[in-house]
Each structure stands twice: as C-alpha cells, then as structure tokens.
Symmetry: C2
Subunit: 360 residues, 2 copies
C-alpha cells in the first residue's frame, strides 16, 4: 500500500487575531504546546508516510511562511489552491495531483490546525483506516467521543460494527452538521461522535464518490483528475475554479454508500479559539493557562480562569482579573472576555473598518 497524506492548510481564521493575520493563519501559530500547528501535523506523519508522500494544500499568501516553517519540506509537494473553494474542490485537486503520479494511492486527508495526541495512537488509527479503505470503495472517517455537547463540530452517527478489531470501526449511518445546543445534547446522549475532519480513502474510491456528487462538482472533479493526469496545469486550474464551493462532508460523505467511521481514542483538539489554550497551554495557579513562545513569560496574582497567549521577550502580568483572554505579541495586544473570544471576527471587522489593514 502506498500511503499519501494531504494536509489542508488553507484557512485564514480570525479567531486568533491579533496572533493570526492574513499571511499567518492559525496553522502557523505555535498552538501545539509551543510548536506551530502545521509543523506538529507534518511531524505526526513521520514513519507513517514517506516524506515525499506528504502534501500540503494552501493558498498563495502562505507558501513562503510554510516553507520557512518547514525547511526540509519539498516545495513541489506544496499545492497552491487558485482560490478558496471549501474542502471538496481542495481535496479533489490534491487527489488529482497525487493520483497522477500514483493512481492507486491511499490517502489520508487532515487539517493542518488540529492537535492530536499521542502520535502512535494517531498512526494506528490511520493504518486501521487504510486497511478498511483497501477494498477500493470504503471512505473512512474518524469520530471522536464527545467530552461535552459541542455546537461547533459536526457529528457522525455509528451503525453496526464492521468487525471486532481495534481500533473499533463501524458503518457510518449519518453525517450531521453543527447542531444547536439542544440537538448537541441529544447527539451526545445517543452516542454520536464528533466529526474529526480526518479521512482515509483510495484515490479510485474518492474519484468514484465524486462521480455521485452534484453534477457541477462531479464534472469539475473529473476534469481535475483528467487534467492532472495529462499534466495540463491551466486546465486543472480552470476545472478547480469551476467547482462549486462545498465541503467534502456535504458533497461526498453524506451521499457515499460505503462510509466507515473509526473510533478515534486520541486527545483531539481543533484549537478553535483562544480559550482552547486551557487544553494546549501550561497551567498556573487559579485555573489560569498560558501559551508562551519566543521567550515570553507570565505571572498572575489574585487572578482566576484567564488565558494568556504571548510571543517574544515579554511578560504578561495579570492582577485581580478573571475570565479574560490576554494576547500580546509584536505589534499588538488584545484583551477580551473569554466568553467573547469566539466573536473576535467582529473586532477584526472593526479593525478593517478603521482602516488598520496593517493589523490584518
């Protein structure tokens, strides 16, 4: 089996402003316990895929920063999306390119900006997925046991177990989009799993699945496969741009006849916004947490339940405060309540409205 990995590193993300910027999205932040998320993602694949079987799909603005972050990475394995079109066209593009060189390849697709630990458990999951996908028709996804009734994730409903091997794998009954709070509670009660956004399949299985997608996407995907196989870059770009903007979940997974879900018994975190520092940072007194890099330090006194994100030689001191997010790096400092951190997009829009494009 020839296993390739496709890392999706396209997102911009405003939830980590001012740490994240247009040219420095979340995956380039040191959110993996101080390492850049994308670096941790590449390193997580070591021993699982040959180095030249690891691909990154990104956008033009991030290429330079990615190459700087990953000095040994082969530049011809960095695929540039002509424009952002959600995950289905992105995955079709990557499958077309790697399939041109290795038509029977098995591929694992994973976001660049998740923390997944431990590495050996992750690799065991991917190998199990590759084994299930080896029939050339099963699309494999990975489901995480919910630790709370999250509204920010999609859910997967499990059907019958496929076998009695570990890690456990089931037929997938249903993909559910991000629910409201009540629905999320019901999902958790009924044992649904979080959709991790990680997939394994063979290139032929994916190509066949795209053929059952909506006609515009099916045609665009098929055109991408044909163009890549013929080495026609301009045609590949045209086909990509003709694809509708749609996620792989909606476009393919929800409709595919043979989908398996592997139970992912790993610590998985999508590090969605600053309060996630409580999961990926260091803890201090008073349930304060910090993510520090580049020589940053922190100290707290009579303060509780705050999160601190700091880069560079500086100290963040909290005195008598609670439930805050405090961010300090280079040219910016942000203070906001933890329960507003998910709304940072509003502040970023305000920054734009103020003409402060230097901060975007």
């Amino acid at each position: 089996m020839s296993l390739h990995a496709v890392i999706m590193a396209g997102g911009a993300g405003t939830r980590f402003w001012p740490a994240s910027r247009a040219a420095r999205p979340k995956q380039l932040l040191p959110l993996a316990h101080g390492r850049l998320l994308v670096v941790a993602t590449v390193e997580r694949l070591a021993g699982l895929c040959a180095p030249d079987h690891v691909w990154i799909v990104t956008n033009r603005r991030q290429v330079r920063a990615l190459m700087k972050a990953l000095p040994g990475f082969r530049s011809d394995r960095i695929l540039v999306e002509p424009e952002p079109r959600d995950t289905a066209p992105c995955i079709a593009l990557a499958a077309a390119r790697l399939g041109a060189a290795d038509p029977g390849a098995t591929m694992v697709v994973l976001p660049a900006d998740h923390v997944i630990e431990p590495v050996d458990a992750f690799q065991r999951l991917v190998r199990r997925g590759a084994q299930l996908a080896a029939d050339g028709k099963t699309l494999v996804t990975f489901g995480v046991s919910p630790s709370f009734a999250a509204t920010g994730y999609g859910y997967i409903e499990r059907g019958p177990a496929l076998d009695d091997q570990e890690p456990r794998a089931h037929a997938s009954l249903r993909f559910c989009e991000k629910p409201d709070a009540d629905t999320a509670r019901r999902f958790v009660e009924r044992g649904l799993l979080w959709n991790s956004g990680i997939f394994v399949w063979t290139v032929p299985a994916l190509r066949a699945a795209f053929a059952h997608a909506e006609p515009a996407l099916a045609a665009a995907a098929e055109a991408m496969f044909a163009a890549a196989a013929a080495g026609q870059k301009a045609r590949l770009t045209r086909a990509f741009k003709a694809a509708p903007k749609v996620s792989i979940d909606r476009a393919v997974m929800e409709k595919a006849p043979t989908v398996a879900v592997v139970e992912a018994a790993v610590r998985w975190h999508d590090v969605g916004s600053f309060p996630a520092i409580a999961a990926v940072g260091i803890g201090g007194e008073g349930r304060n947490f910090a993510l520090l890099s580049g020589g940053a330090s922190w100290l707290t006194l009579q303060s509780e339940d705050n999160v601190v994100y700091a880069e560079g030689k500086r100290t963040v001191a909290l005195f008598g405060v609670r439930d805050l997010v405090v961010v300090a790096l280079g040219d910016a400092v942000l203070v906001c309540p933890k329960d507003r951190a998910a709304e940072l997009k509003e502040l970023v829009e305000h920054v734009r409205a103020q003409g402060r494009t230097d901060l975007l």
Copy 2:
C-alpha cells in the same frame, strides 16, 4: 528678586508598574499628555526662572535618565540625595546648595511628577507667592479647590484673606494630613483646599523655619547650610544623613508662624495611578481613555470605562471589556481592574518574590 526653582524628582513609585521601574520612576514617564512629567515640569518654569536657577534633586539611579530626558540641562544643577529621607531633608539640601551661591534667593519647590495647566496661570501663582514671601518670613503654599473628597491628598484650612489681590491669598490656619473618607467629605464641605505640594519662600525664611523644627532636624538643616556655605561636600552629606526622615509639611509647615496659602486656580493633577489617564490622556468612545507614546495606538469595541497606557509601535485592542487598566510597553503587559490600580504595589512585591528583578 532672584527666583530659583527646586524640582523634587526623587520618588520611585510602584503605582505605574510595569511602565515605571527603579531606574525610570513616574516623573520619567510620558504622563504629561505624552511628554515626560519632569520635562513638562522644567518647561513650565521657562520665563519664570533663569535656566541656571532651575535645580533638580534626585537620586543616583535617575541621574543618567534625567540628563538624557533634559539634554540642555546643566549637570551641576542636578543635586543627588545621598539616600532617600523624605521631603524636609531634601528641601534643606537644595536650599543649602542654592543658598550658598545666592543667599537671599527666593525659591519655588515643586514635585517633578505633577501636571499643572495652563502654564501662564501657574507662573502667575508662583509670582504671587514670591511677592508674599518677599517679607523674608512668610512661607507660601498653594491650595487647589477640591473636585471631590479625595483621601489621597493633604488639605489646608484657610484663615483671613491677606489682601484683595488676585490670585487670592489667605493666612493658612492648619495643615491636615490625608483624611479618611468621612473627614475628607467634611473638609470639602468646610471649604478646605488640597495641599498641592508646591511651596515658595526665601532661603533665609526657610532657614529660620528649620530652626523651629524638631531639634534633630533643626541641627541637621543648620549643619547643611553651614557645610554648603563652606563648600564642604562630605560634611553636607553627613548632615543630610543625620536628618530624620520627615516631610516638609510635618516638619516645618505645620509649625511655622507665618504661612500663606494662595488659591491655585489651575488644572492640577498629581497623576497618582493609571486611572488618572482619564485626566491626562486622550478620550475615546465609551468613556475609554488612553495615554500613548512612541507610535502606540489603540482601538476599542463594545468596551467601556477602561484606561490604556501604551508605549512604542504597538496597538492595544479592547473588545467587550470594562473598568480595566491595560498597560503595554517594551517587555511587559499588565491587565488589572481600575479599582485595583492603587494596589499595584502588591503585584510589584509578587514580582520581586518571584525573583523577576529584571522587571523591577
């Protein structure tokens, strides 16, 4: 009349940490609408005193920073206190030194760290004080009409008016130390004035007043005058160190028989802690205020009643917060509630206890 000015620039001050440090006390912060307080204090004297009649009393650690802040200032007009001993010995030292060169001088004594505006009104006050002090026995102080029942200032009770000239001057009946809240309310109701900490007198009048101070101080002051007149530096230092630690208010003003208080109709602010930025900074939406220097900027969204202090090329962004102090400069960021800002000494002690002397 030969008018000298003595600027007291000895204080360390922890209430502006992390902006203020051991080698960079409050008077070296840009709290005067972006200018350093001590620079604004020196500039406020222009046209009132000849440049070589302006003296600064400070401590050894601040000399270099003061000379850098005041490039044209004569280094022999910077007097170094051998050790901190409160205002009475400090003023005796300065009076002895300038009296040695100019025995009949009139001197105005003023703290380096107050904001007083407008300049012409301030100078009119000092000239009025100098006129009252010209009898060679009156000690002149300046009283500010209270804008609230402050517990952080001393108060002065006025007696009969001395004449009908403007600015108004009264005999001073009583110096009152910082009161508790109830007493402060009574003081304000009864028309007492805030003690501005600014004084005018002749050198002979001050020397005579020191003679009525407690014996140890009287002896030390007289020894300083004699040593300075004889040009004996070591003896001057010894005499200074022999003086008890006591304020000029308690040691001299409360006991002197002839004290006048001039009504100071100026905007006077001692900029006691970060929340004072509401008085000396720029205002924004939502009753937010900022004091910015060195290219700093700020922006706020859905935030109210905060104060921001920032130095250097950085932007402080507040989103959804209220009643906070946010400080950002060089190697430090501080976040604390406005109503805890007066207690920053506690945090500074914590910093010391953590061994972070680099931040002190």
